[in-house]
Each structure stands twice: as structure tokens, then as C-alpha cells.
């Protein structure tokens, strides 16, 4: 019984979510995924991990205002959110979610994902 599978299943149940994945920031590895299509995802995931690391480095350690929380990428029909999960091991994990902008209420979907995120590593 994998708790990560279960967590991603809950994220997938949110209306508007097409795919979800857990990405290890230090290595770019896809630790778990759901609904992901295409063989390019591992490379894309590694890029996302690099982006998160670079964003963190650009922000600098111990910044007023807090650490990196989320990176969003918007296209005309998709919203990709990568939420940084609070992880005391290594460099942390990203909860990547692929949202369909053509479905209703992306803002709501995004909030629901935000509420589910802290429980993923718990």
C-alpha cells in the first residue's frame, strides 16, 4: 500500500487535474506519477527540478518573505503548477500538477491541490 500512490490519486480526483507527479528536486527523478502521458515526461520533470533549484538559488537562503513555494507555467489551455513540498530530506520534492484551463474553475482546482499538498509527504 503506497501512500504516495494514494496521495496522487486524491490529487487526480480534483476536477480539472489531468496529471500529477512527485519529482525529487535533487535528482529530477519522477518518484511517482499519475495520468502522465508521453515518453518525454522524465526529461520535462528533470527540467522542472532544475527550474525550482535555480529559482531557489536566485531567491537566496533566508530571504525575508519565505522560501520558494510554487512555480506556475501557463499556456493557452494548460496550467502547470509545481508546489514545493516541505521536506527535510535532501533538497525537497515538487508536487507537479497539470491542470486543464478549458475546464471550469481553475482557481478552485488550484486551491484544492494546495490543500492536499502538505499531506503528500506526511
Amino acid at each position: 500500500m503506497s501512500s504516495l500512490t494514494e496521495s496522487l490519486r486524491r490529487v487526480m480526483a480534483v476536477d480539472g487535474v489531468r496529471a500529477a507527479a512527485l519529482i525529487d528536486i535533487a535528482t529530477g527523478m519522477v518518484v511517482q506519477s499519475a495520468g502522465v502521458e508521453g515518453r518525454d515526461f522524465p526529461a520535462a520533470a528533470a527540467s522542472m527540478a532544475d527550474e525550482a533549484r535555480m529559482a531557489r538559488a536566485a531567491l537566496g537562503p533566508g530571504r525575508p518573505g519565505g522560501d520558494l513555494d510554487e512555480i506556475s507555467l501557463v499556456t493557452d489551455c494548460r496550467l502547470h503548477i509545481s508546489k514545493v513540498l516541505d521536506d527535510r530530506l535532501g533538497e525537497g520534492m515538487l508536487l507537479f500538477v497539470d491542470l486543464d484551463r478549458t475546464r471550469a474553475n481553475i482557481a478552485l482546482a488550484s486551491r484544492q491541490v494546495g490543500r492536499l499538498a502538505p499531506a503528500v509527504l506526511a
Partner: protein, 298 residues
């Protein structure tokens, strides 16, 4: 058909046979570093190899879990017949999802290390498997091998040398205004020119691949230099850290053995000086008369 990276081919061959048979047991891999792949119903539950830190080292060396906490959980699991994983989570020492993430990344790291090394032979040993933190259900061998291949390709595509596994690096002075993050300060403290990426990974409680990537970034930032005979000799002449003189040159192609490194300080003791702290122990009686110097038989 594309040729596979490193030793992925032989590993895939062996693991596919085990997977097809739904084997539970251990696949022993002889090679460098070699190791043992523990399987449950054809899926990978754990990998032990001298080449990569396992879950226990990752948790303890990173100080995510204390030694005392680990020992308590271990003892409790042993007496109750339960699982170490459940005990660690129950005692809130680590989150369930977090631990699963750790087990999965540790497996990927170990498989990467096996695949990057040499495989001479393998031997399947069906039977019960004893390990403290198995991944249950196990990981698909396919996925682990694909990830190992990806990592090998990423490293090969990075600029610079491709013998990174053997690379020793030494710390440079930190340029003013540079902020250190992501464990870089720990690496600088440990980078003494003796430690390979694998050694650093063990010392830090991080993955070998993650450590190698971090080392590449730190080299690019000028925080570390690869050890070469000339660079190290220059360092030995200059008090304190290297870098205050000319640029240490990276002599392309790190020597396979470190014979050409200058000898670390060796002290041949003057005869007659027995360390005084031994006296109270009463285990060694001070020699009277002459002492044996090296090379002599007494």
C-alpha cells in the same frame, strides 16, 4: 536497437528473468561495486551495495532521524514482529510519504551506481529476504533501469570529464559575496581531496547521483577543484587553503590510483617514546631498553 548505457543490459537481463518468475529472494551481483538486489514477487524491495548509501545511512547521516530514535524503532519492530517503517512513522520521526519517497530515491540511486559500474556475474538466491526498510510493494525493475539510464546519460552530457565516479575534489576559498546553499558548506568542509563522490554521499547522507550533480555545480562556481598531482602539491606548499597562488591545473585524466599524490605527513617516531597515556591502562608494559624500529623483527 540502441545499446544500453553502462551495465544496464546485464542487469536488465537478470532482473527480467527474476520478474518473470515472480521471484522473491536476492539477486547477488558480482562486480564493481556490485551488490545485492532484494526482490519480492519479482519487484525490487531493497538494494544493498557498497557504492551507495542505503535508507539507514540516508536517514541517520542527514540527521533526519536520531540514532537513539532509530535504535528504539528497530528494537520495537524486532520485538513486535512489525515493520521498521511503521515504527518510524508511528513515532513521528519521519512522514509516511516522505519515507516512501526516500526508499524510492534510494533504490534508484543504488541501481544507478550498479549500472554505472561493472557486472561480472549474478546469482539468484530465492528465499526469504531480511531487510530493515523494504519498499512494499516493490519497484518495477524496468522503471529503476530506465531512471539509471537517464542519470548516466545526463552525466555524460555534462561538460567536463566523464570519470566522475573516481573524481576527488578539494575546496577552494569561497569568493566574497557568494552565498552557500543546499549543503554546499558541508561539502566544502569534507572536500579534502581524498573523498570520492560516493564517499561524500555517505558522509552527508545524500544520494550519490545527487552529490555528483552538486559537485559539478560547485566546480562550475569555482568552489571546488579536481585534485591533480600538481594542484595538490601546490596546496601542500601554501599554508591554509589552495588558490592563493596560480590556478591549479586540472590535468586531464585523473590517475586511476593515487600513487602520484604526495604522501600525507608520516611520522616515524623517535625510538624510546611510548605514548604516556598507555601506562595507566596496564595493558602494555613499557619496554625497557631499546625500542624496535620499523623493519626489524624483535
Amino acid at each position: 536497437m540502441e545499446s544500453e548505457e553502462g551495465s544496464v543490459g546485464p542487469l536488465r537481463e537478470a532482473l527480467m528473468v527474476c520478474a518473470a518468475a515472480g521471484m522473491s529472494g536476492t539477486l547477488r551481483v558480482t562486480g564493481d561495486p556490485g551488490g545485492a538486489i532484494h526482490l519480492t514477487d519479482g519487484r525490487v524491495a531493497a538494494i544493498e551495495t557498497p557504492g551507495a548509501p542505503g535508507p539507514e545511512v540516508l536517514l541517520l547521516r542527514s540527521h533526519r532521524v536520531t540514532e537513539a530514535g532509530w535504535d528504539d524503532a528497530f528494537a520495537a519492530a524486532a520485538t513486535s514482529g512489525g515493520r521498521m517503517r511503521a515504527e518510524l512513522v508511528r513515532r513521528a520521526m519521519v512522514g509516511s510519504g516522505e519515507l516512501e519517497g526516500l526508499l524510492r530515491t534510494a533504490l534508484a540511486d543504488a541501481m544507478f551506481v550498479l549500472a554505472s559500474g561493472t557486472v561480472e556475474e549474478y546469482r539468484a538466491e530465492p528465499g526469504p529476504v531480511e531487510c530493515a526498510l523494504p519498499l512494499e510493494p516493490g519497484a518495477e525493475p524496468d522503471g529503476l533501469l530506465a531512471e539509471a539510464s537517464r542519470r548516466i546519460r545526463v552525466l555524460a552530457a555534462l561538460p567536463g570529464r566523464n570519470d566522475r565516479g573516481r573524481l576527488r575534489v578539494v575546496a577552494m576559498p569561497v569568493p566574497p559575496g557568494v552565498r552557500l546553499g543546499e549543503g554546499q558548506d558541508e561539502i566544502l568542509a569534507l572536500a579534502d581531496g581524498r573523498r570520492s563522490p560516493r564517499d561524500l554521499a555517505f558522509a552527508l547522507g545524500r544520494g550519490v547521483y545527487a552529490t555528483m550533480l552538486l559537485l559539478v555545480r560547485m566546480q562550475q562556481a569555482g568552489l571546488l577543484v579536481p585534485v591533480s598531482a600538481r594542484a595538490f602539491a601546490a596546496a601542500a606548499r601554501t599554508p591554509g587553503r589552495t588558490g592563493s597562488g596560480g590556478e591549479p591545473q586540472d590535468v586531464g585524466g585523473l590517475p586511476q590510483r593515487q600513487r602520484d599524490l604526495p604522501a600525507p605527513s608520516r611520522r616515524l617516531r623517535a625510538p624510546g617514546r611510548l605514548p604516556e597515556r598507555l601506562m595507566p591502562l596496564g595493558l602494555l608494559r613499557p619496554r625497557t631498553g631499546r625500542d624496535v624500529s620499523p623493519g626489524e623483527t624483535s
